[in-house]
């Protein structure tokens, strides 16, 4: 073919010792662009070839540091700022717990990055052809011979001289290697339909086989028998109680909490206000109890501070503020009355709260009112 360009001259040697001494002679004769091919790594070869250190180490360093900083920064951001979570009582940014992950990401990025850098930057990856491929020389050095190839790019290269030189140092089977540019620039088409079809088919086969094995052959029913009980879930329709199909039942009229008597002042708020006095004194214990009950039963509508800014706001007639002039001037008995009997759209709590709990709530409501309308001397 006309298009042929000379790549280099190759020679074959029989033993590792011969190739080492040949390399030393090649080197000392001033050749720079040459390469050695052996069936297995030969101890001392890098030294004989006087190879410098590979630049790959720097890639490993850069990728490794990137991995370390990225992992550490990501964890710090996620655990400390984005979604702060306390895990087993550790601080939001538990540095010791980050170290294993940082280490792993460092190693991962360093190794993967180094391999990719080697493939793409040093081996120029998608291009996988080389003039020495498919030569007799390559056949020999990949079975049991040791070869050296002096490249035409070398400044001292001249075909005849190099052939003479290789002969002189004892090389056998001296070959001149040619290549043509088209072959060298040939790139495989990875989108060839046969290849793509092969990928698709193998993906389907693998995922199908996995699906069948995991979901059919090895299938074990999940442990869900606790979910499948014959009971009625809250807030769910149920035919069991024929009439209204509610699963949650309303307590029959007149139900009171345990250990509580029927309310004497039903329908008589004024009388209740006049007759009832709070038997509890505002100790810390009583206030805490009141707060607990208030937060459970009252806060969904009235809000934690009684202002009416609660979670149900807008889905339910908005309750009035408990800090109004009116309620502040009510006697304790009136608030007790509202809790027990309810008021318009506010339901009765007599079936849930004992008298003592109601009085504790009253205490707490009083405390809230006082806190919102503190007098000058309260601040002292």
């Amino acid at each position: 073919m006309e298009n042929k360009i000379i790549y280099g001259v190759t020679g074959i040697f029989d033993t590792p010792d011969e190739i080492i001494s040949a390399v030393k002679q090649v080197k000392s004769s001033g050749f720079e662009r040459f390469d050695v091919h052996t069936p297995y790594p030969i101890h001392g070869m890098p030294k004989a070839m006087k190879l410098g250190t590979s630049p790959l180490g720097y890639f490993a360093l850069v990728f490794g540091l990137t991995g370390a900083f990225a992992a550490f920064a990501l964890m710090t951001y996620l655990m400390g700022y984005n979604y702060p979570l306390i895990i087993s009582g550790k601080p939001f940014i538990p540095i010791p717990a980050f170290i294993p992950v940082t280490f792993e990401v460092t190693v991962l990025l360093a190794s993967v990055g180094t391999v990719l850098a080697m493939l793409f930057l040093l081996f120029k990856f998608p291009n996988n052809s080389h003039p020495l491929h498919d030569t007799n020389y390559m056949k020999k050095v990949s079975s049991n011979k040791f070869g050296i190839c002096i490249e035409a790019k070398d400044e001292k290269f001249s075909k005849m001289e190099v052939i003479e030189f290789l002969k002189k140092i004892g090389a056998k089977d001296i070959e001149v290697i040619y290549y043509d540019n088209d072959a060298l620039n040939f790139k495989i088409n990875i989108f060839e339909w046969k290849f793509v079809a092969f990928l698709v088919v193998s993906a389907l086969v693998v995922s199908g086989a996995t699906y069948i094995v995991l979901n059919k052959l090895m299938f074990a029913p999940p442990f869900n028998w606790m979910m499948g009980q014959h009971r009625i879930d809250a807030q769910v329709e149920s035919k069991f109680f024929g009439k209204d199909n509610f699963s949650m039942r309303v307590a029959p009229a007149g139900t009171v909490a345990r250990n509580t008597n029927q309310f004497k002042f039903s329908g008589q708020p004024e009388l209740a206000e006049a007759k009832l006095i709070n038997p509890l004194i505002p100790t810390e214990e009583n206030l805490r109890k009141g707060m607990k009950k208030y937060d459970i039963y009252c806060s969904p509508c009235h809000g934690y501070h009684g202002i009416g800014d609660a979670r149900l706001n807008g889905q339910f007639p908005n309750p009035p503020s408990l800090h109004s002039e009116k309620v502040r001037n009510w006697g304790d008995g009136h608030i007790f009355y509202v809790i027990t009997e309810g008021q318009n759209s506010m339901p009765s709590y007599s079936s849930q709260l004992t008298n003592e709990e109601k009085w504790a709530i009253v205490l707490y409501v009083r405390a809230l009112q006082r806190a919102m309308n503190a007098k000058e001397e309260d601040l002292k």
Partner: protein, 392 residues
């Protein structure tokens, strides 16, 4: 087979002079120390004991390792380890002042306190003076026996090689490995961990081993480089051997960090008060600085220095980092021992110098005298030429 060109050269007496100077200085300080503040001196004595044990026992371990894995590259240096291993005989000597001060050192020797303390009472079958002394004595005797089996037997091979020497020694090494692990663990637990007898960490033996290996290797590296540079090892040894020293030192720098961090992470995560207090002691006052320092000194500096490939075969940098690791092991032992003596903060004074002076002096002197009239290469070993011609 390649003939070996080795002419014995007697060690320069400079070695001895430096050794005697160091030892004499250290001895004076130690003596003064025991007179002025025998408690502090005794605690420093533990540092001395454990350092010398690291070098002696560690050298034996390196010999055994070479036989077991069939290493070639280290054969030319095996004599150095064999000579160095002689320091195991100094261990009992250094333990004597400590045995005389058991009461000052170990809380568990105070029977009245132990009886009041349910945890210590339950540990009594193990932690009592009798059993403690038996364990140490047994460990010392085992070290002597294996010194003879692994190191002592080898010197005669130079003039009269015996058949099957290597085969037998390989078997001895295999026997030695588990015994080494047990002896080293017991010594670490007894002399270091039981300083705070309530504390326990199952990884502690390995932790001490990690330091032992790196310091023993560092000392061997130092001897190998100095002897080689001054022509004591025949024609000399090339860079690829150095590279192996560097790579191993690098590996065991990482190993130490891995073990030290594992111990810390588990205790930190589990957060059990019976384990965490040991670290909390090392976080009190100025101890926090020392504790952070150990990460830098024992890990970050040697890691950074040894990371580049050329550093591992460059004798200059190797010498530096080997000295550094010797220092790091002293530092490590200081960090393990002294917090028990001084709870509230780190103390450092002239007395803390004596373990370093005596340990280095002893190693130099013993090496000098024991190397006299001996070949510094194991010339009877048929593997030696292969070892000298080692290439990566």
């Amino acid at each position: 087979m390649i003939a070996i060109n080795y002419q014995r050269k007697e060690l320069s007496s400079k070695l001895l002079k430096i050794g005697v100077l160091l030892l004499a200085l250290g001895f004076i300080i130690a003596l003064l120390g025991y007179v002025i503040d025998h408690e502090r001196a005794a605690f420093n004595g533990i540092i001395l004991l454990m350092f010398v044990m690291s070098v002696g026992l560690g050298s034996l371990f390196l010999i055994g390792l070479e036989y077991l894995v069939g290493a070639d590259w280290s054969v030319p240096f095996r004599r150095i380890m064999e000579i160095l291993a002689i320091v195991v005989f100094a261990i009992p000597v250094f333990s004597l002042p400590l045995f005389a001060n058991l009461h000052t050192l170990f809380h568990w020797t105070h029977i009245e306190d132990v009886m009041k303390d349910p945890i210590l009472r339950n540990k009594m079958p193990y932690l009592n003076e009798m059993f403690f002394s038996i364990r140490s004595t047994a460990a010392f005797v085992l070290m002597f026996i294996f010194w003879w089996l692994l190191a002592g037997r080898s010197f005669g091979q130079d003039s009269t090689p015996t058949k099957n020497f290597r085969k037998i020694t390989v078997r001895i090494s295999a026997l030695f490995m588990p015994i080494f692990a047990i002896v080293l663990t017991f010594m670490a637990v007894d002399w270091l961990m039981s300083l705070e007898p309530h504390w326990f960490s199952t990884i502690f033996g390995v932790y001490y081993f990690a330091g032992t290996f790196s310091v023993a290797l560092a000392v061997v590296t130092l001897f190998a480089i100095y002897l080689n540079e001054n022509g004591y090892l025949g024609e000399g040894i090339e860079g690829d051997h150095y590279y192996n020293f560097g790579a191993l030192l690098f590996a065991f720098t990482n190993f130490w960090a891995y073990i030290a961090f594992s111990q810390f992470l588990l205790i930190w995560y589990a957060n059990l008060p019976e384990e965490t207090f040991w670290y909390l002691h090392r976080w009190e006052g100025s101890w926090a600085v020392i504790s952070v320092g150990i990460i830098i000194i024992h890990f970050i500096v040697p890691y950074a220095v040894l990371l580049p490939q050329p550093a591992k075969s460059d004798p200059k940098r190797l010498k530096f980092i080997a000295w550094w690791l010797v220092f790091a092991h002293f530092y490590d032992l200081y960090w393990l021992v002294i917090p028990t003596y001084s709870h509230s903060g780190a103390v450092f004074g002239w007395m803390e110098l004596y373990p370093v002076l005596i340990a280095l002096g002893t190693i130099l002197i013993l090496f000098y005298f024991f190397a006299k009239n001996k070949n510094l290469l194991p010339i009877g070993d048929p593997k030696l030429p292969k070892g000298i011609n080692f290439h990566l």
